[in-house]
């Protein structure tokens, strides 16, 4: 499988990365090189094989369903580019 220029633009938008028109062709070439490389996986017989979900056999750790941390709003917004009163500021989302 390979991607065309239109697909490159669509993927970039899905990934929320602005791509300029002159970058589309080189990106298309690079993505197709990677897709050509992974193409060989089509030759493997995977019938009856379970996809891996956990690399080491383990049960997921659980803990008591209680509050363990909180009250750190100042820490959480400390690195945000724009904030007000412990809120993150973004351009208007809802009209």
């Amino acid at each position: 499988m390979s991607v065309d220029a239109q697909t490159v633009r669509r993927i970039a938008h899905l990934a929320r990365i602005a791509v300029s028109e002159e970058d589309v062709a080189p990106l298309q070439g690079e993505l197709n090189a990677i897709l050509a490389f992974v193409e060989q996986l089509g030759a493997v017989d995977v019938s009856g094989v379970e996809p891996m979900t956990s690399v080491t056999p383990m049960r997921m750790k659980k803990r008591e369903d209680v509050v363990t941390e909180g009250g750190r709003a100042t820490d959480i917004v400390a690195n945000a580019p724009e904030t007000e009163d412990h809120y993150f500021l973004v351009p208007k989302v809802v009209e």
Binding site: G29, E39, V55, R63, N79
Partner: protein
């Protein structure tokens, strides 16, 4: 007495304990070495004041007879580990100026044990690269050069800053991370030792995520023993990472001197890849001969799905990366490029903040996870991952204790030599290391000699899950037989 930064980490530890020098002296020597080696660009941030403050605490602890396991030992920290109040960039412009308000589990363990931080080490952006040429903070230059040449050589990647700093004696050891070979490949390229422990041995909490089912932290140091000492502090249970195992940390240092008598070492025939340089084959044969001489049994084994590991990795890792890196949105931390609407804000921020390789991988990941392609790519790759793991399980079930392979398909290359339009050429560097991440196993790279151009070559040992101890024992046997590689002449100082 020779310079204090020529000591191994274990020697420095013992010297401090015996009060032959102070933690302050040891730290000052390393700070001076770091300052003189700026031509290597191994550090993104130097933290000498913090190092001296920690060293003073260490001297008081030593004087009081309360020395902790890493008391007063100066280390470098890969800039992928979040450090409280100290800028953490992941080698990316998108995290410029990010100052975590928390400490990663691995680094917190190091400070708990008394280690000293010299600074934050350069790396490929978000740990995506095999040559440290994708960092937004510039290339790292290897301290090694080809005989009779002053061409700049890559230190490998993504832990290129860690490997270069350790090889150049700027620190006694360094933290690193490994998603497809990012500890073992740079270690092999710089004549240092690097171990990626079993998935789950070190907590991933507070380490910037690349591909969560593959990422593991581990040390790079100049000897096998030093790696054992460092890993013992870095590893351990952590309730905040649900994939971090609740197993006690073994006495790794004790395992170093166990020897290999009675062990069976597997040699996988599928690693004899087409076009492998004769030097690599010779080194591999030599490694097997050393282990045989030391009392191990050598056995040819088959890992039939080896050739599919790298292509499957280039589906799984980008898929997980595209999900993990969705958090860099210009809203919560790091870079923000304004726009009139929220989608424009995301798109502009991510276009300006991510480098080319990172964008490529996010886009591949987005594509293989998108509607209509998920089963053909992602699910198929995860099935192949199951097959790769079964290969190893079958070998271990037949009594193999560890597997010996070359660490890399070649010695280090020159900066810019692999800048072709085909990204796959660079990816092939990890052909021997990536299987280990896909199966979650421990792997160690240990120096085994020099190539005809005078650059280091390494061998890799792959172990059973949670049996890093055997890897330390076998790697020490290779280190003993190969002898420590001659250090590069300090042209940079």
């Amino acid at each position: 007495m020779s310079e204090l930064n020529e000591l191994t980490l274990a020697e420095a530890r013992d010297g401090l304990k015996a009060k032959r020098f102070s933690a302050r002296e040891l730290t000052q020597v390393h700070i001076a070495a770091v300052e003189k080696a700026r031509a290597l660009n191994a550090f993104i941030l130097e933290t000498p004041e913090r190092a001296l403050a920690q060293a003073e605490v260490s001297d008081r602890k030593i004087a009081a007879g309360e020395a902790r396991p890493l008391e007063g030992l100066p280390l470098g920290i890969k800039d992928l580990f979040c450090t409280h109040g100290v800028t953490t960039t992941a080698g990316s412009k998108i995290l410029e100026g990010f100052e975590p308000h928390y400490e990663s589990a691995v680094t917190a363990n190091l400070w708990r044990d008394g280690a000293v931080m010299l600074g934050k080490l350069n790396l490929d952006e978000f740990a995506m690269g095999s040559s440290n040429e994708t960092s937004a903070y510039g290339n790292v230059v290897s301290p090694w050069r080809r005989t009779g040449s002053d061409a700049q050589i890559v230190p490998g990647g993504s832990s290129g800053g860690s490997a270069a700093a350790v090889a150049a004696h700027l620190c006694l050891g360094a933290t690193a991370t490994d998603t497809g070979g990012s500890i073992r490949q740079p270690a092999a390229f710089t004549g240092t030792v690097g171990i990626k422990p079993t998935y789950g041995r070190c907590s991933r909490w507070g380490t910037v995520a690349f591909a969560s089912s593959l990422d593991q932290a581990g040390p790079i140091a100049r000897t096998v023993r030093d790696c054992a000492v460092l890993l013992a502090s870095m590893a351990g249970p952590d309730a905040r990472d649900t994939t971090c195992v609740d197993l006690p940390v073994p006495d790794f240092e004790a395992a170093v001197s166990r020897g290999v008598k009675g062990l069976t070492i597997g040699i996988p025939k599928e690693y004899r890849v087409d076009g492998m340089p004769a030097e690599i084959q010779k080194l591999w044969d030599q490694g097997a001969a050393w282990l045989k001489d030391a009392g191990a049994t050598i056995k040819e084994i088959s890992l039939p799905n080896t050739q599919y590991a790298l292509p499957a990795y280039y589906i799984v890792a980008p898929a997980e990366a595209s999900s993990n890196l969705a958090r860099y949105d210009g809203v919560r931390y790091g870079l923000r490029v304004p726009a009139n609407d929220i989608v424009g804000l995301y798109e502009n921020t991510r276009a300006a903040g991510f480098g080319r390789e990172v964008k490529r991988r996010i886009m591949i990941g987005t594509y293989v996870l998108s509607a209509g392609y998920y089963d053909a790519y992602y699910v198929r790759a995860q099935k192949i991952r199951t097959l790769i793991k079964r290969d190893f399980e079958a070998a271990y079930a037949e009594g193999v204790d560890a597997i010996l392979t070359p660490a890399t398909p070649s010695a280090a290359f020159g900066i810019g030599e692999k800048a072709s339009a085909d990204p796959v050429e660079m990816y092939l560097n990890d052909v021997f290391t990536v299987t280990v991440n896909m199966a979650g196993l421990p792997g160690i790279a240990v120096p085994a000699g020099l190539d005809s151009q005078g650059l280091p070559l390494g061998l890799q040992l792959i172990g059973r899950p949670f049996d890093e101890e055997t890897l330390f024992a076998v790697a020490q046997t290779i280190e003993d037989a190969a002898g420590r590689t001659a250090l590069p002449k300090p042209w940079w100082a």
